[in-house]
C-alpha cells in the first residue's frame, strides 16, 4: 500500500471512528481564502497560513460537499490501486457517471464542484494532486541540452531535449512521479512567455548558442511547468524570465517567482523565488529608442491589473517594480515581446544577450 493510499484510508478510518463514537464525521483542511495567504519574506514565497477549517457532514450547508469530498477521495484511492491516471476533468466525469446511491440528483453537476475538493484533499492529506494520480492539462514547451528519463505506461524512455525539432518537448502535468532529469548541459534557464517567441528563439538555436534551457509556459505557467522550473532551480540553474511589457505578462513572472494565491498551499514546491526578470520593461523604452514607436495602448484591464499588483506587498516592496507599474498606469502604454523583432528578426537574441551580460534584471 502506497503512502498516499494509506493516507486516504486513514482519513476514512478517522471518520468511521467518529461515526462509531456517535458524532458527525468531520473533515479538516486548511483555509484557502485570501485571509490565510501570507507572503513568506524569508524565502520569498506565498504560503498558506495555519488557519484551518473543519467541515461536518451533519450540517445542511456542508452535507453535499462533504459527501462529494469523500466520493473524490474514494475515487482517487481506486485510481491509485489500479495504477491509472486521469485528468481532473476525467475524475469529474467518473464521478458524474456514478449516479449516486439512492440519490435523485447528480453527484456532481459541474467540474467547478469537484476541482476545489481536489485541492481540499491535497491540503488535508498533504499530498499533491499528481500523487493522487490526477493530472492537469499539459502546457509548456522545452528545448535545450537536457536528457530526461520517463517511466510511463510500463515503458522507460530517454528524452533528449536537443532532439525535439521545431515543436520541442511538451511539459506533462506531473514531472515528479516516474520522471527524472538524467543530465543537464546548460548554464541557465530562459522562460519566454509567448510560444511564438519561443519558436523564434528555437529557430535561432538560441539555447545552443547561449547554453540554456529554453522554456515557454505558453502564457500563465501550469503546475507542471512551475514544478519543472523549481527542479531546474534546485539543480543550481538561474531562472530568467522574459515576458510582454504589461501587468499580465509581469504577473506570469510573479507567479513563477512567488507562487500564485490559488496554489499558495503548494508553497516552495511550486515557486522559484530565485528567478529574475529580464524584460520587457518600461525602462527598455528609454534604453532602446525604436521601442518608443512600437508601444500600444494599455487596456483598462491592464491598468487594473497593474493597480492590483501595486497593492501586493511582495511586489510593492521592490521599488523597481513600483516604478514600472506606476509608469504603466501613468503612460497607459504597453509593449509586446514581439516588438523586439522590429529592427530585425534576430534582434530578440541580441536584446537578451545584451541585458543578460549587463545583468540588467529586475528582482
Amino acid at each position: 500500500m502506497s503512502d498516499v493510499v494509506k493516507k486516504l484510508t486513514n482519513l476514512g478510518k478517522s471518520m468511521v471512528k467518529e461515526i462509531n463514537n456517535n458524532s458527525s464525521p468531520t473533515f479538516t483542511t486548511k483555509l484557502r481564502s485570501r485571509s490565510n495567504i501570507n507572503y513568506d519574506e524569508s524565502i520569498g514565497v506565498l504560503r498558506l497560513g495555519d488557519k484551518r477549517e473543519e467541515r461536518t457532514f451533519i450540517n445542511v450547508s456542508q452535507a453535499r460537499r462533504f459527501m462529494q469530498t469523500i466520493a473524490v477521495a474514494n475515487k482517487c484511492k481506486k485510481f491509485l490501486n489500479e495504477n491509472s491516471h486521469t485528468s481532473i476533468r476525467g475524475l469529474y466525469y467518473q464521478l458524474k457517471f456514478s449516479l449516486g446511491a439512492n440519490l435523485d440528483e447528480e453527484l456532481f453537476s459541474e467540474q467547478g464542484e469537484s476541482n476545489p475538493l481536489i485541492e481540499d484533499l491535497e491540503l488535508a492529506l498533504d499530498v499533491k494532486r499528481e500523487d493522487l494520480n490526477l493530472s492537469t492539462a499539459r502546457k509548456g514547451v522545452v528545448a535545450g541540452p537536457m536528457v530526461l528519463k520517463d517511466k510511463f505506461a510500463g515503458e522507460k524512455v530517454e528524452i533528449d531535449l536537443t532532439k525535439q525539432g521545431r515543436s520541442g518537448w511538451m511539459i506533462p502535468s506531473d514531472v515528479d512521479n516516474g520522471m527524472e532529469i538524467d543530465s543537464i548541459n546548460a548554464e541557465w534557464v530562459l522562460v519566454v512567455e509567448k510560444d511564438a517567441i519561443w519558436q523564434r528563439l528555437n529557430e535561432d538555436k538560441f539555447w545552443k548558442k547561449e547554453d540554456c534551457i529554453l522554456i515557454s509556459p505558453q502564457g500563465q505557467a501550469s503546475r507542471g511547468a512551475r514544478r519543472l522550473l523549481r527542479k531546474l532551480a534546485d539543480k543550481g540553474l538561474p531562472i530568467i524570465v522574459f515576458t510582454d511589457c504589461d501587468a499580465w505578462g509581469w504577473y506570469i513572472y510573479w507567479t513563477i517567482k512567488t507562487g500564485s494565491m490559488n496554489l499558495a498551499y503548494l508553497g516552495l514546491d511550486i515557486a522559484v523565488p530565485e528567478s529574475k526578470f529580464i524584460g520587457v520593461t518600461m525602462q527598455d523604452i528609454k534604453d532602446y529608442d525604436f521601442l518608443d514607436k512600437l508601444t500600444i495602448t494599455a487596456k483598462p484591464i491592464d491598468i487594473k491589473k497593474a493597480q492590483d499588483m501595486l497593492s501586493y506587498p511582495w511586489i510593492n516592496m521592490h521599488k523597481e517594480w513600483v516604478k514600472e507599474l506606476k509608469t504603466v498606469i501613468k503612460t497607459k502604454k504597453k509593449i509586446e515581446q514581439d516588438a523586439l523583432q522590429g529592427p530585425r528578426l534576430s534582434f530578440i537574441s541580441d536584446y537578451l544577450r545584451d541585458k543578460k551580460e549587463n545583468e540588467r534584471f529586475l528582482p
Partner: protein, 530 residues
C-alpha cells in the same frame, strides 16, 4: 310595540298581518323560509330545555313531499319539559303570545315570532293543521293545532291522552313554497352553526336526501338561566322608553325611573329633573309623550352614569366553544377568546367571544379547497343572512391578515366563530340578521379577532419551522447512503450498513423536535471566497 302593531291589525285578519309582514318575520325566499321554520322550532326547543335544566337532545327531520310545489314535511323532536295541555294552544297556536315579550333579558328568541308563526305559515300555505305530541309531567298528549285566523285564537283538537314517563315535544308541520338547499343559508348550515354555539345540545338532522347528520354534544354543562336585568339609561332609545313607560304600573314618572332602570339613584333623578324643569315627574308614566321621551333620552346622554352591570350577560364560554369547535370542525389549530364585558352607546354591556379554527374541516368547503368562513352569532343564535351589512363582517374585513401569516383570508382554511352576547343586541333591521356597525362593538370584535389571530400566527410559524426542519433532515439524509458507501470503501470498513444507520440516527438526533431550534447555527458557507 309589536303588540300595538298587532292590535292595529285587529280589524283585519291575523293572516293579513302575517302576509304583510312575512318579509320582516323571516319568510322571504324559499330557502330562507325553511331555515326560519327550523330556526323558530329549534330555538323553542333549546329554550324549553334551558328552562327545565335539561341537556337538550334535538332531532330535526326535513322530508320532501313534492319538490316542484316546494312541499316539505318538517318534524322536530326534543327532550324538553314539554308543554302542559292547556298551554299547547297558546304556545303553538297564537301569534305573538310568547312570554318573551318585553323582558329585558338575553335571549335567543329576540328574533322571529316563535313556533306559532310556523303553525300559521303551514296553515296558510297548505291549509293543514300541525301535529303536536307533548310529554309533560307523566302525561302524553297528541293533538292537532290550528289558528283561527279571524280571532287569532288557537284551535286544539286532542287526539289522544295517555300516561307516559316521556317528556318533550314533537312538532310536525307540512309547509309549501320552501326549498331545501345545502348552501350557507340552508337548514344544514343553520343547524351546524347552532350546534357550534350551543355545545350543550345534541342535534341530529335527517335531510331530505335521507342523510343523517349528527352534531354531538360537546359539554355537559347547561348554560345558566338568563335573569332579567334592568336597562341602563344609556342603552335606551326613545321608543324603548315609551314602550317601558306605557306598560309600567308605577304611579309616577319618578318611581318609574327609579324602579325600572339601573343606576338611577335619587341623586341622579334630581339631576335629571334639573335638566327638564318643565316635565312633571309626578305624572303617570303612560302619559309620557314621544317628544318628552325624546328629550329625556338626550339628557340621559349628558349625565355621568355608573357603568351598567354585566350580570345579565351569558357568553358561551371559552372552554365550551373550544370543545364544540374540536367536535364539529376537527381543526388542526383552535383558539378561543372571551373578552371582558364592554359597553357600547355608552351604556349597553356586551361580551364578545371569538373562536378561530384553522385547518381540518375549518373554512367553507368549495370544491376541494376551503375558504375563510365567518360564522356570526348574536346571543348564540346564528346570523345567516345580510352578512354584507353586519358590524361583525366589518370587523373581520378590517383585519390585515397578512400580519398573521395569512395571505388572503378568503382563501384560507379558517372558520371564525363570533358571538356577541348582550341583553340588547343592536340589530340593523327587523330581520335581525345583522348587527349595526357600532364603533365600540366593531372595535371590540376586531380586538378579539386579533387576539386569536396572533395565536394562530404562532401556530403557523411553528408549522413553517417544522417544515423547515423536515426539509433540513431530508437534505442531509439524501446523501447518507452515498457517503456510507464511499466511506466504507475508503476506510476498508466492512460494515457499511452500520455507518448508514448511525449516520441516519445522528442526523435525526441533531434535528430532532425536542432540541431547541438554534437560529444561530451556522448554516452558511464557512469558506470565504478568494
Amino acid at each position: 310595540m309589536a303588540k300595538d302593531v298587532f292590535t292595529q291589525f285587529k280589524e283585519h285578519s291575523v293572516a293579513e298581518f302575517f302576509k304583510k309582514n312575512k318579509q320582516m318575520l323571516g319568510f322571504s325566499g324559499k330557502i330562507r323560509s325553511l331555515t326560519t321554520i327550523v330556526h323558530e322550532l329549534v330555538t323553542n326547543s333549546l329554550d324549553a330545555a334551558e328552562e327545565g335544566r335539561i341537556l337538550p337532545d334535538i332531532v330535526v327531520e326535513v322530508s320532501e313531499i313534492n319538490k316542484d310545489e316546494g312541499r316539505y314535511l318538517v318534524h322536530i323532536e326534543d327532550n324538553g319539559t314539554g308543554i302542559p295541555e292547556k298551554l299547547i294552544g297558546k304556545a303553538l297556536g297564537m301569534m305573538l303570545a310568547g312570554t318573551k315579550f318585553h323582558r329585558y333579558v338575553q335571549q335567543r328568541g329576540q328574533q322571529g315570532i316563535g313556533a306559532a308563526g310556523v303553525t300559521m305559515y303551514s296553515q296558510l300555505t297548505t291549509g293543514k293543521s300541525v301535529k303536536v305530541i307533548s310529554g309533560y309531567k307523566g302525561k302524553k298528549v297528541t293533538c292537532e293545532v290550528l289558528i283561527d285566523i279571524r280571532t287569532n285564537k288557537p284551535k286544539v283538537n286532542i287526539l289522544n291522552r295517555e300516561p307516559s314517563e316521556w317528556h318533550g315535544l314533537i312538532y310536525e308541520a307540512e309547509v309549501k313554497d320552501v326549498k331545501y338547499d345545502k348552501s350557507s343559508y340552508g337548514v344544514y348550515e343553520y343547524l351546524k352553526r347552532t350546534a357550534l354555539a350551543n355545545p350543550h345540545a345534541s342535534i341530529t338532522f335527517l335531510d331530505p336526501l335521507g342523510e343523517r347528520h349528527i352534531f354531538p354534544r360537546s359539554v355537559d354543562v347547561i348554560p345558566p338561566k338568563p335573569k332579567p336585568v334592568k336597562p341602563h339609561p344609556l342603552g335606551i332609545s326613545t321608543s324603548d322608553l315609551i314602550d317601558f313607560a306605557h306598560y309600567s304600573k308605577e304611579p309616577t314618572l319618578s318611581s318609574f325611573f327609579r324602579n325600572t332602570f339601573s343606576r338611577i339613584s335619587q341623586l341622579k333623578l334630581d339631576e335629571l329633573r334639573n335638566y327638564l324643569p318643565d316635565i312633571n315627574f309626578r305624572m303617570k308614566p303612560r302619559m309620557l309623550s314621544w317628544e318628552q321621551a325624546d328629550r329625556i333620552v338626550s339628557v340621559f346622554k349628558k349625565i355621568k352614569w355608573i357603568s351598567p352591570s354585566s350580570d345579565g350577560i351569558y357568553p358561551i364560554g371559552e372552554k365550551q366553544i373550544k370543545k364544540s369547535i374540536y367536535n364539529i370542525l376537527n381543526p388542526e389549530f383552535c383558539e378561543v377568546v372571551e373578552r371582558k364585558p364592554k359597553i357600547y352607546r355608552g351604556g349597553i354591556p356586551f361580551i364578545v367571544e371569538v373562536g378561530l379554527a384553522y385547518g381540518g374541516d375549518a373554512g367553507r368547503k368549495i370544491g376541494s379547497s376551503r375558504n375563510g368562513d365567518v360564522i356570526r352569532f348574536a346571543n348564540r343564535a346564528p346570523l345567516l343572512f345580510d352578512a354584507g351589512g353586519c358590524g361583525i363582517t366589518d370587523a373581520v374585513k378590517s383585519i390585515d391578515w397578512k400580519r398573521y401569516g395569512i395571505k388572503n383570508f378568503d382563501d384560507a382554511p379558517i372558520t371564525l366563530i363570533i358571538n356577541v352576547s348582550s341583553v340588547h343586541i343592536p340589530y340593523t333591521g327587523a330581520g335581525k340578521q345583522a348587527l349595526s356597525s357600532e364603533q365600540d362593538l366593531v372595535d371590540e370584535i376586531r380586538n378579539a379577532i386579533m387576539d386569536v389571530a396572533r395565536k394562530m400566527q404562532i401556530h403557523i410559524r411553528g408549522k413553517v419551522r417544522e417544515r423547515e426542519r423536515a426539509t433540513k433532515i431530508k437534505s442531509i439524509l439524501k446523501y447518507v447512503e452515498q457517503l456510507s458507501m464511499d466511506l466504507a470503501e475508503l476506510a476498508d470498513y466492512s460494515e457499511r450498513d452500520k455507518i448508514n444507520k448511525k449516520l441516519i440516527k445522528l442526523v435525526e438526533i441533531k434535528y430532532s423536535k425536542t432540541k431547541k431550534h438554534n437560529d444561530n447555527e451556522s448554516e452558511s458557507d464557512n469558506r470565504s471566497v478568494d
